[in-house]
Amino acid sequence: MSHVRKQLVYEKIAHTFLGLAAALTAAPVIIIIVFLLVKGSAALTPEFLTGMPREGMKSGGIFPAILGTFYLVIGTVLFSVPVGTLAAIYLTEYAKQGRLTRTIRLAIANMAGVPSVVYGLFGLGLFVLFLKMGTSLLAGSLTLGILVLPVVITAAEEALLAVPQSFRQASLALGATRWQTTRKVVLPNSISGIITGTVLAIGRAAGETAAIMFTVAAFFLPALPSSPFSQAMALPYHLYTVSTQVPGMPEAIKWGTALVLLLLVLLFTLTAALVRARFRRKKRW
Protein backbone atom coordinates (compact mmCIF):
# COMPACT_ATOMS: atom_id res chain seq x y z
CA MET A 1 0.00 0.00 0.00
CA SER A 2 1.43 3.32 -1.00
CA HIS A 3 2.24 5.94 1.56
CA VAL A 4 -0.53 8.23 0.30
CA ARG A 5 -3.14 5.46 0.42
CA LYS A 6 -2.15 4.66 3.98
CA GLN A 7 -2.57 8.29 4.99
CA LEU A 8 -6.00 8.29 3.38
CA VAL A 9 -7.05 5.32 5.48
CA TYR A 10 -5.81 7.04 8.63
CA GLU A 11 -7.70 10.12 7.58
CA LYS A 12 -10.91 8.10 7.26
CA ILE A 13 -10.39 6.42 10.63
CA ALA A 14 -9.74 9.77 12.29
CA HIS A 15 -12.79 11.27 10.67
CA THR A 16 -15.01 8.42 11.87
CA PHE A 17 -13.78 8.46 15.46
CA LEU A 18 -13.89 12.22 15.78
CA GLY A 19 -17.43 12.21 14.43
CA LEU A 20 -18.41 9.46 16.84
CA ALA A 21 -17.02 11.39 19.78
CA ALA A 22 -18.99 14.44 18.74
CA ALA A 23 -22.17 12.40 18.35
CA LEU A 24 -21.57 10.83 21.74
CA THR A 25 -21.52 14.21 23.42
CA ALA A 26 -24.75 15.26 21.75
CA ALA A 27 -26.56 11.99 22.42
CA PRO A 28 -27.27 12.39 26.17
CA VAL A 29 -28.76 15.83 25.63
CA ILE A 30 -31.04 14.57 22.89
CA ILE A 31 -32.04 11.49 24.89
CA ILE A 32 -32.85 13.59 27.96
CA ILE A 33 -34.94 16.03 25.97
CA VAL A 34 -36.85 13.29 24.14
CA PHE A 35 -37.38 11.35 27.35
CA LEU A 36 -38.70 14.39 29.20
CA LEU A 37 -40.96 15.38 26.33
CA VAL A 38 -42.46 11.90 26.07
CA LYS A 39 -42.95 11.36 29.77
CA GLY A 40 -43.62 14.90 30.91
CA SER A 41 -45.61 16.69 28.26
CA ALA A 42 -48.85 15.06 29.45
CA ALA A 43 -48.45 16.88 32.77
CA LEU A 44 -48.12 20.30 31.18
CA THR A 45 -51.65 21.55 31.73
CA PRO A 46 -52.45 25.22 32.37
CA GLU A 47 -53.28 24.31 35.95
CA PHE A 48 -49.90 22.61 36.42
CA LEU A 49 -48.09 25.73 35.26
CA THR A 50 -50.16 28.34 37.03
CA GLY A 51 -51.67 26.60 40.06
CA MET A 52 -50.56 26.12 43.63
CA PRO A 53 -49.63 22.62 44.78
CA ARG A 54 -52.45 20.72 46.48
CA GLU A 55 -52.86 17.54 48.51
CA GLY A 56 -49.31 17.43 49.80
CA MET A 57 -48.04 18.47 46.34
CA LYS A 58 -49.48 15.27 44.83
CA SER A 59 -51.74 17.30 42.58
CA GLY A 60 -52.25 20.89 41.56
CA GLY A 61 -49.54 23.02 40.03
CA ILE A 62 -45.94 24.06 40.53
CA PHE A 63 -46.35 27.78 39.95
CA PRO A 64 -44.58 28.83 43.16
CA ALA A 65 -41.52 26.83 42.18
CA ILE A 66 -41.48 28.32 38.68
CA LEU A 67 -41.79 31.82 40.08
CA GLY A 68 -39.15 31.14 42.73
CA THR A 69 -36.65 29.93 40.16
CA PHE A 70 -37.46 32.91 37.97
CA TYR A 71 -36.76 35.31 40.86
CA LEU A 72 -33.58 33.46 41.77
CA VAL A 73 -32.26 33.69 38.23
CA ILE A 74 -33.00 37.40 38.08
CA GLY A 75 -31.35 37.98 41.45
CA THR A 76 -28.31 35.94 40.48
CA VAL A 77 -27.86 37.80 37.22
CA LEU A 78 -28.35 41.19 38.90
CA PHE A 79 -25.54 40.40 41.29
CA SER A 80 -23.10 38.30 39.27
CA VAL A 81 -23.11 40.01 35.88
CA PRO A 82 -22.16 43.52 37.05
CA VAL A 83 -19.64 42.28 39.61
CA GLY A 84 -18.21 39.69 37.21
CA THR A 85 -17.95 42.10 34.32
CA LEU A 86 -16.31 44.79 36.44
CA ALA A 87 -13.85 42.24 37.79
CA ALA A 88 -13.04 41.11 34.26
CA ILE A 89 -12.54 44.72 33.19
CA TYR A 90 -10.16 45.23 36.08
CA LEU A 91 -8.19 42.10 35.19
CA THR A 92 -7.89 42.78 31.47
CA GLU A 93 -7.91 46.56 31.15
CA TYR A 94 -6.49 47.95 34.36
CA ALA A 95 -4.38 45.54 36.38
CA LYS A 96 -0.68 45.28 35.68
CA GLN A 97 -0.25 41.67 34.57
CA GLY A 98 1.81 40.02 37.24
CA ARG A 99 1.68 38.03 40.42
CA LEU A 100 -1.50 39.67 41.69
CA THR A 101 -3.52 39.01 38.53
CA ARG A 102 -2.14 35.47 38.36
CA THR A 103 -3.27 34.86 41.93
CA ILE A 104 -6.71 36.28 41.24
CA ARG A 105 -7.08 34.18 38.09
CA LEU A 106 -5.98 31.08 40.00
CA ALA A 107 -8.56 31.82 42.67
CA ILE A 108 -11.26 32.21 40.04
CA ALA A 109 -10.30 28.95 38.37
CA ASN A 110 -10.45 27.21 41.74
CA MET A 111 -13.79 28.79 42.55
CA ALA A 112 -15.19 27.07 39.49
CA GLY A 113 -14.13 23.73 40.90
CA VAL A 114 -15.62 24.08 44.37
CA PRO A 115 -18.59 21.71 44.84
CA SER A 116 -21.90 23.54 44.90
CA VAL A 117 -22.86 22.11 48.29
CA VAL A 118 -19.88 23.96 49.73
CA TYR A 119 -21.27 27.19 48.30
CA GLY A 120 -24.59 26.26 49.90
CA LEU A 121 -22.97 25.91 53.30
CA PHE A 122 -20.93 29.08 52.74
CA GLY A 123 -24.12 30.96 51.90
CA LEU A 124 -25.81 29.53 54.96
CA GLY A 125 -22.95 30.66 57.17
CA LEU A 126 -22.38 34.10 55.66
CA PHE A 127 -25.69 35.36 54.31
CA VAL A 128 -28.34 33.41 56.21
CA LEU A 129 -26.78 33.35 59.65
CA PHE A 130 -24.01 35.91 59.97
CA LEU A 131 -25.62 38.68 57.91
CA LYS A 132 -29.00 37.66 59.28
CA MET A 133 -30.75 37.54 55.93
CA GLY A 134 -32.47 34.32 56.92
CA THR A 135 -33.37 31.73 54.34
CA SER A 136 -34.48 34.14 51.66
CA LEU A 137 -34.43 34.92 47.96
CA LEU A 138 -31.70 37.47 48.70
CA ALA A 139 -29.44 34.95 50.44
CA GLY A 140 -30.11 32.38 47.71
CA SER A 141 -29.44 34.82 44.88
CA LEU A 142 -26.19 35.99 46.46
CA THR A 143 -25.04 32.42 47.01
CA LEU A 144 -25.88 31.48 43.42
CA GLY A 145 -24.27 34.73 42.30
CA ILE A 146 -20.97 33.75 43.89
CA LEU A 147 -21.30 30.26 42.47
CA VAL A 148 -21.63 31.52 38.90
CA LEU A 149 -19.08 34.36 39.21
CA PRO A 150 -16.20 32.33 37.74
CA VAL A 151 -18.31 31.54 34.67
CA VAL A 152 -19.25 35.19 34.21
CA ILE A 153 -15.72 36.50 34.78
CA THR A 154 -14.08 33.98 32.48
CA ALA A 155 -16.54 34.61 29.65
CA ALA A 156 -16.32 38.38 30.07
CA GLU A 157 -12.52 38.27 30.17
CA GLU A 158 -12.40 36.30 26.94
CA ALA A 159 -14.84 38.71 25.34
CA LEU A 160 -12.75 41.72 26.40
CA LEU A 161 -9.51 40.15 25.22
CA ALA A 162 -11.09 39.42 21.84
CA VAL A 163 -11.44 43.15 21.19
CA PRO A 164 -8.46 44.06 18.97
CA GLN A 165 -5.68 45.91 20.75
CA SER A 166 -5.63 48.37 17.85
CA PHE A 167 -9.04 49.72 18.92
CA ARG A 168 -7.68 50.53 22.37
CA GLN A 169 -4.60 52.16 20.90
CA ALA A 170 -6.67 54.25 18.53
CA SER A 171 -8.87 55.42 21.36
CA LEU A 172 -6.01 56.22 23.75
CA ALA A 173 -4.11 58.01 20.99
CA LEU A 174 -7.15 60.23 20.48
CA GLY A 175 -6.86 61.37 24.06
CA ALA A 176 -9.35 59.02 25.67
CA THR A 177 -8.83 57.97 29.25
CA ARG A 178 -8.66 54.29 30.07
CA TRP A 179 -12.21 54.34 31.36
CA GLN A 180 -13.51 56.18 28.28
CA THR A 181 -11.75 53.61 26.13
CA THR A 182 -13.29 50.77 28.10
CA ARG A 183 -16.76 52.23 28.07
CA LYS A 184 -16.92 53.52 24.50
CA VAL A 185 -14.75 51.07 22.60
CA VAL A 186 -14.05 47.88 24.50
CA LEU A 187 -17.40 47.18 26.14
CA PRO A 188 -19.63 47.81 23.11
CA ASN A 189 -17.46 45.41 21.13
CA SER A 190 -17.47 42.67 23.73
CA ILE A 191 -21.08 42.79 24.81
CA SER A 192 -22.07 39.63 22.94
CA GLY A 193 -19.40 37.64 24.73
CA ILE A 194 -20.49 39.04 28.06
CA ILE A 195 -24.04 37.97 27.29
CA THR A 196 -22.76 34.48 26.55
CA GLY A 197 -21.36 34.39 30.05
CA THR A 198 -24.70 35.56 31.37
CA VAL A 199 -26.47 32.74 29.54
CA LEU A 200 -24.15 30.16 31.04
CA ALA A 201 -24.68 31.71 34.46
CA ILE A 202 -28.44 31.51 34.05
CA GLY A 203 -28.24 27.85 33.13
CA ARG A 204 -26.18 27.09 36.21
CA ALA A 205 -28.31 29.21 38.52
CA ALA A 206 -31.65 27.84 37.34
CA GLY A 207 -30.58 24.24 37.70
CA GLU A 208 -28.58 24.47 40.92
CA THR A 209 -29.97 22.48 43.86
CA ALA A 210 -27.37 22.09 46.56
CA ALA A 211 -26.55 25.79 46.81
CA ILE A 212 -30.17 26.81 47.39
CA MET A 213 -31.11 24.00 49.76
CA PHE A 214 -29.80 25.81 52.84
CA THR A 215 -30.15 29.37 51.68
CA VAL A 216 -33.60 29.88 50.20
CA ALA A 217 -35.53 26.84 49.10
CA ALA A 218 -38.59 25.70 50.98
CA PHE A 219 -40.14 22.27 50.79
CA PHE A 220 -43.59 23.76 50.54
CA LEU A 221 -44.97 27.26 51.02
CA PRO A 222 -48.63 28.15 51.11
CA ALA A 223 -48.02 31.63 49.66
CA LEU A 224 -45.92 33.17 46.90
CA PRO A 225 -42.74 35.04 47.89
CA SER A 226 -43.55 38.69 48.57
CA SER A 227 -40.12 40.30 49.03
CA PRO A 228 -36.40 39.55 48.61
CA PHE A 229 -36.48 38.41 52.23
CA SER A 230 -39.10 35.77 51.60
CA GLN A 231 -38.34 32.11 51.41
CA ALA A 232 -39.25 30.62 48.07
CA MET A 233 -39.80 27.32 46.37
CA ALA A 234 -37.59 26.57 43.39
CA LEU A 235 -37.82 24.06 40.58
CA PRO A 236 -34.64 22.03 41.10
CA TYR A 237 -35.27 21.63 44.81
CA HIS A 238 -38.93 20.91 44.16
CA LEU A 239 -37.91 18.22 41.71
CA TYR A 240 -35.64 16.75 44.32
CA THR A 241 -38.36 16.68 46.96
CA VAL A 242 -41.13 15.28 44.75
CA SER A 243 -38.77 12.64 43.46
CA THR A 244 -37.34 11.46 46.75
CA GLN A 245 -39.13 12.89 49.76
CA VAL A 246 -42.81 12.32 49.10
CA PRO A 247 -44.04 8.73 48.89
CA GLY A 248 -46.72 7.97 46.33
CA MET A 249 -45.99 10.98 44.15
CA PRO A 250 -47.59 10.61 40.69
CA GLU A 251 -44.98 10.03 37.99
CA ALA A 252 -46.40 12.76 35.77
CA ILE A 253 -45.65 15.47 38.34
CA LYS A 254 -41.99 14.46 38.57
CA TRP A 255 -41.48 14.34 34.81
CA GLY A 256 -43.56 17.45 34.32
CA THR A 257 -41.46 19.38 36.85
CA ALA A 258 -38.25 18.28 35.18
CA LEU A 259 -39.60 19.28 31.78
CA VAL A 260 -40.67 22.70 33.03
CA LEU A 261 -37.23 23.29 34.52
CA LEU A 262 -35.63 22.37 31.24
CA LEU A 263 -37.98 24.57 29.24
CA LEU A 264 -37.42 27.50 31.57
CA VAL A 265 -33.64 27.26 31.17
CA LEU A 266 -34.15 26.93 27.44
CA LEU A 267 -36.34 30.01 27.42
CA PHE A 268 -33.73 32.08 29.26
CA THR A 269 -30.97 30.78 27.00
CA LEU A 270 -32.95 31.49 23.87
CA THR A 271 -33.75 35.03 24.91
CA ALA A 272 -30.12 35.72 25.66
CA ALA A 273 -29.05 34.10 22.39
CA LEU A 274 -31.42 36.36 20.48
CA VAL A 275 -30.07 39.44 22.23
CA ARG A 276 -26.57 38.26 21.45
CA ALA A 277 -27.36 37.70 17.80
CA ARG A 278 -28.66 41.25 17.59
CA PHE A 279 -25.39 42.63 18.92
CA ARG A 280 -23.30 40.28 16.85
CA ARG A 281 -24.88 41.32 13.57
CA LYS A 282 -23.39 44.74 14.09
CA LYS A 283 -19.90 43.44 14.71
CA ARG A 284 -17.48 42.92 11.88
CA TRP A 285 -13.77 43.29 11.83
Binding site: L172, A173, L174, G175, A176, K283
Partner: protein, 263 residues
Protein backbone atom coordinates in the same frame (compact mmCIF):
# COMPACT_ATOMS: atom_id res chain seq x y z
CA UNK B 1 19.11 72.13 -2.65
CA UNK B 2 16.18 74.10 -1.29
CA UNK B 3 17.09 76.20 1.68
CA UNK B 4 14.98 75.74 4.77
CA UNK B 5 14.48 78.85 6.82
CA UNK B 6 14.28 77.21 10.25
CA UNK B 7 10.79 77.18 11.68
CA UNK B 8 10.16 77.20 15.39
CA UNK B 9 11.06 73.96 17.18
CA UNK B 10 7.86 72.10 18.02
CA UNK B 11 9.17 68.91 19.55
CA UNK B 12 12.64 68.49 20.94
CA UNK B 13 14.12 65.13 21.83
CA UNK B 14 17.23 65.64 23.92
CA UNK B 15 19.79 62.89 24.58
CA UNK B 16 17.17 60.23 25.14
CA UNK B 17 17.98 56.71 26.25
CA UNK B 18 14.97 54.46 26.30
CA UNK B 19 14.35 51.08 27.87
CA UNK B 20 11.66 48.39 27.58
CA UNK B 21 12.03 46.57 30.91
CA UNK B 22 15.81 46.10 30.98
CA UNK B 23 16.26 46.18 27.22
CA UNK B 24 17.86 49.36 25.96
CA UNK B 25 15.93 50.18 22.80
CA UNK B 26 17.30 53.63 22.06
CA UNK B 27 20.55 55.34 22.86
CA UNK B 28 21.40 59.00 22.83
CA UNK B 29 18.68 60.20 20.49
CA UNK B 30 18.49 63.94 19.89
CA UNK B 31 16.16 65.39 17.27
CA UNK B 32 14.70 68.86 16.84
CA UNK B 33 11.42 68.78 15.00
CA UNK B 34 10.35 71.99 13.34
CA UNK B 35 6.73 73.01 13.25
CA UNK B 36 4.77 72.88 10.00
CA UNK B 37 7.23 70.51 8.45
CA UNK B 38 7.18 66.86 7.58
CA UNK B 39 9.99 65.06 9.31
CA UNK B 40 10.70 61.50 8.19
CA UNK B 41 12.43 58.77 10.16
CA UNK B 42 13.96 56.04 8.03
CA UNK B 43 16.05 52.99 8.75
CA UNK B 44 15.94 49.22 8.67
CA UNK B 45 13.32 47.20 10.60
CA UNK B 46 13.78 47.08 14.33
CA UNK B 47 16.01 50.14 14.52
CA UNK B 48 13.63 51.93 16.89
CA UNK B 49 11.93 54.40 14.51
CA UNK B 50 8.47 53.62 15.83
CA UNK B 51 9.75 53.79 19.38
CA UNK B 52 11.02 57.33 18.78
CA UNK B 53 7.58 58.20 17.44
CA UNK B 54 5.82 56.84 20.50
CA UNK B 55 8.10 58.73 22.87
CA UNK B 56 6.28 61.81 21.74
CA UNK B 57 2.74 60.79 22.69
CA UNK B 58 3.84 58.37 25.42
CA UNK B 59 1.89 55.56 23.77
CA UNK B 60 4.66 53.11 24.65
CA UNK B 61 3.47 53.36 28.23
CA UNK B 62 0.36 51.45 27.22
CA UNK B 63 2.46 48.46 26.18
CA UNK B 64 4.32 47.80 29.40
CA UNK B 65 7.15 48.79 31.64
CA UNK B 66 9.32 51.43 30.09
CA UNK B 67 11.96 53.88 31.27
CA UNK B 68 13.28 57.03 29.72
CA UNK B 69 16.42 59.02 30.38
CA UNK B 70 16.80 62.42 28.82
CA UNK B 71 14.16 64.93 27.90
CA UNK B 72 11.33 65.31 25.41
CA UNK B 73 9.63 68.66 25.09
CA UNK B 74 6.58 69.93 23.26
CA UNK B 75 6.66 73.72 22.90
CA UNK B 76 9.52 73.73 25.45
CA UNK B 77 7.39 71.91 28.02
CA UNK B 78 8.82 68.65 29.33
CA UNK B 79 6.19 66.02 28.47
CA UNK B 80 7.66 63.56 30.97
CA UNK B 81 7.56 65.98 33.87
CA UNK B 82 5.53 64.76 36.84
CA UNK B 83 1.98 66.02 36.68
CA UNK B 84 1.79 66.05 32.88
CA UNK B 85 -1.65 64.90 31.80
CA UNK B 86 -1.08 62.12 29.27
CA UNK B 87 -4.65 62.40 28.06
CA UNK B 88 -4.18 66.07 27.23
CA UNK B 89 -0.81 65.35 25.66
CA UNK B 90 -2.36 62.79 23.34
CA UNK B 91 -5.04 65.19 22.25
CA UNK B 92 -2.24 67.56 21.20
CA UNK B 93 -0.14 64.87 19.53
CA UNK B 94 -2.23 62.53 17.40
CA UNK B 95 -1.13 59.24 15.93
CA UNK B 96 -1.92 57.42 12.69
CA UNK B 97 -1.15 53.75 12.89
CA UNK B 98 0.44 51.38 10.44
CA UNK B 99 -2.72 49.42 9.80
CA UNK B 100 -5.87 51.49 9.38
CA UNK B 101 -7.80 50.94 12.61
CA UNK B 102 -11.22 52.59 12.36
CA UNK B 103 -13.68 51.66 15.09
CA UNK B 104 -16.51 49.34 14.01
CA UNK B 105 -18.83 52.33 14.06
CA UNK B 106 -20.23 54.60 11.38
CA UNK B 107 -17.96 56.97 9.47
CA UNK B 108 -19.54 59.87 11.33
CA UNK B 109 -19.11 58.31 14.75
CA UNK B 110 -15.47 57.54 14.03
CA UNK B 111 -14.67 61.16 13.31
CA UNK B 112 -16.88 62.44 16.13
CA UNK B 113 -15.25 60.08 18.63
CA UNK B 114 -12.50 62.48 19.74
CA UNK B 115 -14.65 65.63 19.97
CA UNK B 116 -17.25 63.69 21.94
CA UNK B 117 -14.56 62.64 24.42
CA UNK B 118 -13.90 66.31 24.97
CA UNK B 119 -17.56 66.77 25.80
CA UNK B 120 -18.60 68.43 22.56
CA UNK B 121 -22.03 66.99 22.04
CA UNK B 122 -24.21 69.37 20.06
CA UNK B 123 -25.17 67.83 16.75
CA UNK B 124 -24.61 70.96 14.70
CA UNK B 125 -21.16 71.54 16.18
CA UNK B 126 -20.20 67.90 15.57
CA UNK B 127 -21.56 68.06 12.02
CA UNK B 128 -19.23 70.97 11.34
CA UNK B 129 -16.20 69.27 12.90
CA UNK B 130 -16.84 66.02 11.03
CA UNK B 131 -17.21 67.76 7.69
CA UNK B 132 -14.11 69.89 8.20
CA UNK B 133 -11.97 66.94 9.28
CA UNK B 134 -13.13 64.76 6.39
CA UNK B 135 -12.42 67.58 3.95
CA UNK B 136 -8.92 68.06 5.37
CA UNK B 137 -8.29 64.35 4.99
CA UNK B 138 -9.57 64.53 1.39
CA UNK B 139 -12.28 61.99 2.06
CA UNK B 140 -15.37 64.20 2.19
CA UNK B 141 -16.37 63.89 -1.46
CA UNK B 142 -16.28 60.12 -1.32
CA UNK B 143 -18.27 59.67 1.87
CA UNK B 144 -20.51 62.70 2.29
CA UNK B 145 -23.58 60.72 1.24
CA UNK B 146 -22.92 57.72 3.44
CA UNK B 147 -21.74 59.13 6.75
CA UNK B 148 -23.88 56.64 8.62
CA UNK B 149 -22.53 53.51 6.98
CA UNK B 150 -19.95 51.44 8.80
CA UNK B 151 -16.36 52.60 8.48
CA UNK B 152 -15.42 49.00 7.80
CA UNK B 153 -17.11 49.14 4.40
CA UNK B 154 -14.49 51.60 3.16
CA UNK B 155 -11.42 50.50 1.24
CA UNK B 156 -8.07 50.34 3.02
CA UNK B 157 -6.94 53.70 1.68
CA UNK B 158 -10.24 55.34 2.60
CA UNK B 159 -10.04 53.80 6.06
CA UNK B 160 -6.59 55.29 6.55
CA UNK B 161 -7.80 58.72 5.47
CA UNK B 162 -10.73 58.26 7.84
CA UNK B 163 -8.24 57.60 10.63
CA UNK B 164 -6.47 60.80 9.64
CA UNK B 165 -9.78 62.67 9.75
CA UNK B 166 -10.52 61.11 13.14
CA UNK B 167 -7.20 62.41 14.44
CA UNK B 168 -7.70 65.85 12.87
CA UNK B 169 -11.10 66.18 14.54
CA UNK B 170 -9.31 66.36 17.88
CA UNK B 171 -7.34 69.34 16.51
CA UNK B 172 -3.90 68.14 17.47
CA UNK B 173 -0.78 70.19 16.84
CA UNK B 174 1.46 67.31 15.91
CA UNK B 175 0.56 64.19 13.91
CA UNK B 176 2.66 61.07 14.23
CA UNK B 177 2.42 58.62 11.36
CA UNK B 178 3.79 55.12 11.76
CA UNK B 179 4.25 53.73 8.25
CA UNK B 180 0.79 54.94 7.34
CA UNK B 181 0.94 53.62 3.79
CA UNK B 182 2.56 50.24 4.31
CA UNK B 183 -0.79 48.45 4.01
CA UNK B 184 -1.96 50.53 1.04
CA UNK B 185 -1.69 50.33 -2.73
CA UNK B 186 0.21 53.00 -4.74
CA UNK B 187 -2.91 55.03 -5.60
CA UNK B 188 -4.05 55.18 -1.97
CA UNK B 189 -0.47 55.98 -0.97
CA UNK B 190 -0.41 58.89 -3.40
CA UNK B 191 -3.64 60.25 -1.91
CA UNK B 192 -2.25 60.08 1.62
CA UNK B 193 0.94 61.82 0.51
CA UNK B 194 -1.08 64.58 -1.18
CA UNK B 195 -3.07 64.95 2.03
CA UNK B 196 0.12 65.32 4.06
CA UNK B 197 1.32 68.05 1.72
CA UNK B 198 -1.78 70.09 2.58
CA UNK B 199 -1.80 69.19 6.25
CA UNK B 200 1.67 70.49 7.01
CA UNK B 201 0.40 74.02 6.55
CA UNK B 202 -1.40 73.60 9.85
CA UNK B 203 0.28 70.69 11.53
CA UNK B 204 3.66 69.31 12.35
CA UNK B 205 4.03 65.84 10.91
CA UNK B 206 6.48 63.13 11.82
CA UNK B 207 6.39 60.05 9.65
CA UNK B 208 8.13 56.73 10.06
CA UNK B 209 8.55 54.96 6.78
CA UNK B 210 10.27 51.99 5.24
CA UNK B 211 9.91 53.52 1.86
CA UNK B 212 12.84 55.80 1.08
CA UNK B 213 11.21 57.30 -1.99
CA UNK B 214 8.30 58.25 0.21
CA UNK B 215 10.60 59.97 2.69
CA UNK B 216 12.26 61.80 -0.17
CA UNK B 217 8.91 62.85 -1.63
CA UNK B 218 7.07 64.05 1.44
CA UNK B 219 9.56 65.29 3.98
CA UNK B 220 11.67 68.37 4.57
CA UNK B 221 13.81 66.72 7.20
CA UNK B 222 14.99 63.14 7.49
CA UNK B 223 16.55 61.20 10.29
CA UNK B 224 18.35 57.96 9.57
CA UNK B 225 18.41 55.36 12.33
CA UNK B 226 20.35 52.15 12.67
CA UNK B 227 21.15 49.35 15.07
CA UNK B 228 24.54 47.72 14.93
CA UNK B 229 23.20 44.27 15.76
CA UNK B 230 20.04 42.72 17.14
CA UNK B 231 19.94 43.38 20.88
CA UNK B 232 21.83 46.64 20.51
CA UNK B 233 20.01 49.94 21.04
CA UNK B 234 18.85 51.97 18.05
CA UNK B 235 20.84 55.12 17.33
CA UNK B 236 20.30 58.16 15.21
CA UNK B 237 23.05 58.11 12.61
CA UNK B 238 22.26 61.33 10.84
CA UNK B 239 19.62 64.00 10.81
CA UNK B 240 19.22 66.88 8.43
CA UNK B 241 17.36 68.39 5.50
CA UNK B 242 15.95 65.61 3.33
CA UNK B 243 17.61 66.99 0.22
CA UNK B 244 20.99 66.75 1.89
CA UNK B 245 20.47 63.30 3.41
CA UNK B 246 19.49 61.90 0.06
CA UNK B 247 22.16 63.58 -2.04
CA UNK B 248 25.23 64.10 0.09
CA UNK B 249 24.94 62.46 3.47
CA UNK B 250 27.78 63.00 5.91
CA UNK B 251 27.91 59.42 7.10
CA UNK B 252 28.96 56.36 5.18
CA UNK B 253 26.14 54.25 6.73
CA UNK B 254 23.51 56.68 5.52
CA UNK B 255 24.86 56.61 2.02
CA UNK B 256 24.98 52.80 2.03
CA UNK B 257 21.38 52.63 3.18
CA UNK B 258 19.88 55.12 0.77
CA UNK B 259 21.76 53.68 -2.16
CA UNK B 260 20.34 50.30 -1.24
CA UNK B 261 23.54 48.58 -0.25
CA UNK B 262 21.85 47.08 2.80
CA UNK B 263 18.70 47.19 4.85
Amino acid sequence: MAELDGNKIKVRIESVDFYYEDFKALEDISIDIESNRVTALIGPSGCGKSTVLRLMNRMHEVMGKTRLKGKVTLDDQDIYAPGVDVVELRSRIGEIFQKPNPFPKSIYDNVAFGPRLQGRKSRSELDGIVEKALKQAALWKEVKNKLNTSALELSGGQQQRLCIARTLAVEPEVILMDEPCSALDPVATQQIEDTMEVLKENYTIIIVTHNMQQAARVSEYTGFMLIQETGEPGKLVEFGPTSKIFTMPDKKETENYITGRFG
